[in-house]
Amino acid sequence: MAEIWDAALLERVRHLHRVARRLSDGLAAGHNRARRSDQGVEYAESREYVPGMDLRHVDWKALARRDRLVVKRQVADREFASVVVLDLSADMSTGGSDGGLPDLDESKAGRAIAVVATMLAFLHRHGEPVGLTFVAGEGFEHRVVPPRAGRRHLQLLMRQLALARPAGSARLGEALRELGARSRRACWLAVVSDGMEEPSAWIPALGAISARGSDVRMVHIYDQAEWAMADADGALLYSPEGGPTTSVEYRDVRHTFAQAADAYVQEVRAGLMSRGVRHVLSDVSGSLEKVLRGAIA
């Protein structure tokens, strides 16, 4: 476990906060988080009016009956938590992590962490209880952080994100099924992953969560520069998650790979959307704000 007072860690946490705040400010301007249309509210209690309370919820009947200015507090008929699932499998490390903490600007893992941090900050700002689950990865203190509200909770989440680094294999399907079993209640769910597993192994699990009433989206992280295979020469390619190496001449497979990658993305998108899951594609070097708008809107 990293030291609480580790200067580098503190700086990283602060950086995450800054990024999240900057981006979530942009998202918050004129934007309300949409709730599901079938989400209902109910009377919770009445309170004596004090200056600052929202006058839209004044109980006029009570005023007429008792000549007292009373404000009604309402709550949703169900508790609607927000959970973010972050895939930190070893494949997410490409783009510049080199085994250490991922670069927040150039690696897929760094992009994913920045997206998650921003989402958490935004949801917290709106008073939503937020939780975080890591799929694969290492370095963090808690793999699953249940949804809670509060500033301290956000600090905890940011700390985990600052400590996390990619490692291992995701086994995304298994992780999502486990998530679905753990929380039977509907929630707001965002899965941030590169999806580098057979789509048929994990899309149905995500679809099942959506089918139970959850508001589900997937932020699909990829590295366009990596997929472009822009080098003139070849290389011995290997997956950080293990497996055999493959010798390729980029000029020979570039075109075919581009077609295969495009086909894969279309397969994932079609599979998710057919199950009511929103699909947001995010290039490492692309606009983070645009991705977040697509994911949170």
Partner: protein, 661 residues
């Protein structure tokens, strides 16, 4: 040029060239290892990625393959050969110098003929021979002549012998020359130096067997091809045809060169008359010019002369002018008939009338004795019962007159044989019926051959084939007579014999349509013109310049001489004529001492020497029998090994540079 290998079996090791290719294809890829976050997608196309396996470091592989190739090539001991433009001469102690003096060598570029260049080069080569080498000099065209002294030990004398060689007019018989050279070297190997333009369509092909034998016998055959590009136009033929409208000369010109030529020609027809002609001759093609000959040409030698080029001898050609001219024809009509067309003389008279300048006198046999033969050019005895005697006709014929004897029902063969036997070309027999009157008659078969062609042109011979005889007198040709046609059953129909300067013709059928349809056929008029025009001029023979020719002189017993213009040439008198060698193309006359021309000859150059294009070369033929002949060889093994070493260094440097970091 050629490439040969001393150890060709080593070339099988060329399979080793595949080794660098295989090594580069299969070797462990020394590429950079790189983490790739989308291996999942890559594995979906992994079979495609593997299929495009490439040869690594292509240029390095090429260098290595070239290095292997050079080593293998060097092992095969390659030798590169090119024709040696300057072969060594004088390696043996006997050298035969063969100089081509044929007509084609007379071509000149204005400064020097090919023959002179050949002699000059031969002198130079002989002068450079080492001491002690014996030299023989041969010159050839269609015959081979050697220096009378045989082998010459002194180079200066050999050079003198070369200088003494004269241009010939004959065709090239290189085969004969090489045969003679081999004969001279029969008792040991030597060198044969041939100075020739090697031109002519078949000269080399004909000589190939001699070249093969020379190579087999171990002699060195060193050709010196002298010629270069030479464009030539030649007069290759003149054909004279006769018709009712007169005679025509068809002049064949051939352009043997490689550029188109506009050619101006003149046709001289005697009496100072010249007909100009023009022709455009495309490269390597023949063109024909036609000249209409005047009616009154006098049976002399015609002369075609075209604008001279490098080889002027073949720009001229003689031809025999048709021997028809103004004539006075005396017809002795033995059967005047009851009607004009029934007269023997009717058709002949009509035919002579179509002549430009001729007249006929018709007499009966009874009034013959009162008739003078002065100013008469031809006499026709048509169906005469009692012919005049030899004594009456002999002087007339000998001085150039024509006597034409035709048969009929009045003729008594025995009387003719008795009266005119010595003059007649055949002894007459009994008349015979060949076919009934209502039948078509026996067709006439004209004779071919050179003698017949002197009297009857191809047109006349073709026309005679339409003639059919129902009756004719049997006749047996005498010695010296020329049979010109016979009837289909073999009986003589037409014959001629020379008597002095004149001729006696015999037609064994009639000159009216009683026994034959001759007067009714289109050939009758030109035949009349030919027969009755012949004899006024001396016969013309076309001969070849440079060759020994024989001109027959029938019934000429005086001393004669052969002249060309004012020059008298040496000749040999034979039993039947004269023999001599026309030195140049031109017109020659055979005259009596009194100046009377008894024969004419037109000499032109030999055919076949005008094509100056050399098709192939003697050196190439020699190399076909032994590939090392007349070549300069360069062994390539050492240079290839040096190149292999350089390539090895280069590939080592490149391998270091391309090693991945």
């Amino acid at each position: 040029m050629s490439l040969s290998f001393g150890a060709p079996a080593v070339l099988a090791l060329a399979a080793l060239l595949a080794l660098p290719w295989l090594a580069h294809l299969t070797r462990i890829q020394r590429k950079n290892r790189r983490a790739f976050g989308a291996m999942f997608v890559l594995r979906r196309i992994e079979s495609d990625a593997r299929r495009h396996r490439r040869v690594d470091d292509r240029w390095l592989m090429v260098l290595r393959m070239m290095m292997v190739g050079c080593v293998v090539g060097a092992g095969a001991a390659p030798v590169f050969r090119v024709p040696d433009p300057d072969p060594d001469v004088g390696r043996s102690d006997r050298v035969v110098v063969v100089v081509d003096r044929s007509l084609s060598m007379a071509w000149t570029d204005g400064s020097q003929s090919t023959f002179e260049r050949a002699k000059s080069q031969a002198r130079e080569v002989v002068g450079a021979l080492p001491d002690g080498v014996n030299v023989a000099v041969l010159a050839f065209d269609d015959r081979v002549d050697g220096t009378s002294e045989g082998w010459l030990a002194d180079a200066a004398r050999a050079q003198d012998a070369i200088d003494a060689l004269q241009q010939g007019w004959g065709a090239s018989d290189l085969r004969l020359a090489l045969l003679e050279a081999r004969r001279m070297l029969a008792d040991g190997p030597g060198e044969i130096l041939v100075f020739s333009d090697e031109s002519g369509p078949e000269i080399l092909r004909d000589a190939a067997d001699q070249v093969e034998r020379i190579v087999a016998e171990g002699h060195a055959l060193i050709p010196f091809a002298i010629g270069g590009r030479r464009d030539n136009v030649a007069v290759v033929s003149v054909d004279v045809t006769e018709g009712v409208d007169g005679a025509r000369a068809a002049i064949g010109l051939r352009n043997f060169g490689q550029v188109a030529r506009e050619v101006r020609c003149t046709v001289a027809v005697g009496g100072g008359r010249v007909i100009p002609l023009f022709a455009n001759a495309a490269p390597r093609s023949k063109v024909e010019l036609v000249a209409s000959l005047p009616r009154d040409v006098d049976g002399e030698v015609g002369w075609v002369e075209c604008e001279p080029d490098g080889l002027s001898a073949d720009d001229v050609r003689a031809f025999a002018l048709p021997q028809s001219s103004s004539a006075h024809v005396l017809i002795v009509d033995g059967d005047a008939g009851d009607t004009p067309v029934g007269a023997e003389s009717h058709f002949v008279e009509r035919a002579v009338e179509s002549w430009g300048d001729a007249r006929t006198t018709i007499v009966s046999p009874e009034s013959w004795a009162d008739t003078s033969l002065d100013n008469v050019t031809s006499v026709v005895l048509a169906n005469v019962a009692t012919p005049p005697t030899v004594e009456q006709f002999l002087p007339f014929v000998q001085r150039g007159g024509t006597l034409w004897v035709a048969m009929g029902s009045e003729v008594v063969p025995e009387r003719f044989n008795a009266a005119l036997g010595p003059l007649l070309p055949a002894t007459l027999g009994v008349p015979g019926i060949l076919a009934a009157r209502d039948e078509r008659g026996r067709p006439i078969v004209p004779h071919g051959g050179r003698n017949a062609a002197d009297f009857l042109s191809p047109t006349l011979r073709a026309g005679l084939q339409s003639v059919r005889n129902h009756r004719q007198v049997d006749a047996t040709p005498v010695e010296g007579a020329i049979s010109l046609a016979h009837a289909a059953d073999g009986g003589l129909a037409l014959a001629v014999v020379r008597v002095g300067a004149g001729h006696v013709w015999l037609w064994t059928s009639t000159l009216d349509h009683a026994w034959s349809n001759l007067p009714l056929e289109s050939v009758f008029v030109p035949l009349i013109h030919r027969i009755l025009g012949a004899g006024r001029a001396a016969p013309v023979q076309l001969v070849r310049a440079g060759s020994s020719v024989h001109v027959p002189l029938e019934n000429v017993h005086e001393d004669v001489r052969v002249r060309s213009g004012d020059e008298t040439l040496s000749f040999q008198r034979t039993d039947r004529g004269v023999r001599w060698r026309p030195p140049t193309p031109g017109v020659y006359t055979i005259e009596t001492r009194a100046g009377e021309i008894v024969a004419r000859a037109g000499a032109h150059v030999v055919d076949g020497e005008s094509d100056l294009l050399a098709e192939g070369s003697m050196a190439k033929i020699e190399r076909s029998f032994e590939s090392t002949r007349l070549t300069r060889s360069t062994p390539l093994a050492t240079p290839l090994l040096g190149l292999a070493l350089l390539l090895g260094l280069a590939q080592a440097l490149m391998a270091r540079q391309t090693r991945p970091s």
